[in-house]
């Protein structure tokens, strides 16, 4: 792929200014009540509250336009498939953008459901199942990108399996009456790690391309390794919490 350091520098400037404004917004936001502290999610309650607030007017506009939460759920799946295709074709910055967009749609569908009074067990079930397929699609594309690098391919497979396990453990725990909502690498955190990792990797690849003579995606590799490690940790942590809760409930 052609080196485009000028465009990458302009994008870096825009993202830098946006991140500075976002940090100011986060600092001014009142945190949501929720899991915080060492065992809580990587993105704290303040960041979550800020992001929800940022898209509040969009939710309102979508509700007025007659868009239903299901539409956003299906749109998220389509965008995730496109993100996978972008990863597979080596369009890493674009893949990062699509991953962030899919994550945003995932947040918006729940928000829209609550705002319009359409939140239901059917919607929650459909959302969970669609989320899993969406993750599979994105990781499959990432696997195609790394198919010449066996070690990275193994890490992608591990990240994909561990991400599914995080959700599976929670679902099984809910089946036996235990609510497991903690852990560092929940769904939004996984979107952020992969999306921003790909974004930064795409920028760095284009910025360093003229001096290196080729594009390198070491930042994406690091992000995927971090994602795999955190997802495994979260799945193990939730399993331990679940077994401890069950052991305290029954004598055997």
């Amino acid at each position: 792929m052609e080196c485009r350091p000028g465009t990458a520098a302009a994008a870096t400037l825009v993202i830098g200014v946006t991140v500075a404004l976002a940090l100011r917004g986060v600092a001014r936001t009142e945190p949501e009540a929720g899991a915080a502290g060492p065992g809580g999610p990587l993105l704290g309650p303040r960041v979550r509250a800020w992001y929800r607030g940022l898209f509040g007017p969009t939710e309102e506009w979508l509700a007025e336009a007659g868009i239903r939460p299901d539409h956003l759920t299906y749109a998220q799946l389509v965008v995730s498939v496109l993100a996978g295709a972008a990863f597979a074709s080596g369009a890493i910055f674009l893949a990062g953008w699509l991953t962030i967009l899919a994550g945003t749609l995932d947040i918006l569908d729940g928000g829209l459901a609550r705002r319009t009074g359409l939140a239901s067990p059917r919607g929650a079930f459909l959302d969970s199942v669609t989320d899993r397929w969406a993750e599979v699609a994105t990781f499959a594309g990432l696997g195609v990108f790394y198919y010449r690098e066996p070690w990275m391919l193994a890490v992608v497979a591990l990240a994909a399996a561990a991400s599914q396990m995080v959700s599976y453990v929670r679902a099984r725990a809910e089946g036996v009456g235990i609510a497991l909502v903690g852990g560092r690498a929940q769904r939004p955190e996984r979107y952020v790690l992969l999306g921003f990792g790909a974004w930064i990797s795409g920028l760095v690849a284009h910025l360093l391309c003229p001096s290196l003579g080729r594009q390198t995606h070491a930042v994406l590799g690091l992000a995927v390794c971090l994602l795999a490690g955190m997802a495994i940790w979260t799945a193990v942590q939730r399993t331990r919490e679940g077994t401890a809760a069950l052991a305290s409930r029954s004598p055997s």
Partner: protein
Amino acid sequence: MTGRGWRPLAFLLAMLGFGLRLDTDWQVTGLLLLLAGGAVGLVLGRPTGSRPFVGGDGPR
């Protein structure tokens, strides 16, 4: 939608424009999206806080 509501859309459009310009041969489409993102951010994304007709503090 208020001015604040347009800003995320402007950012998403601009980033899509940058993505197309960085990773594809769709240079013109990317540029158009960048311009669209800039226009949405600058024109529609401006604060549109409604001002009261009558001040709350002074005598009436």
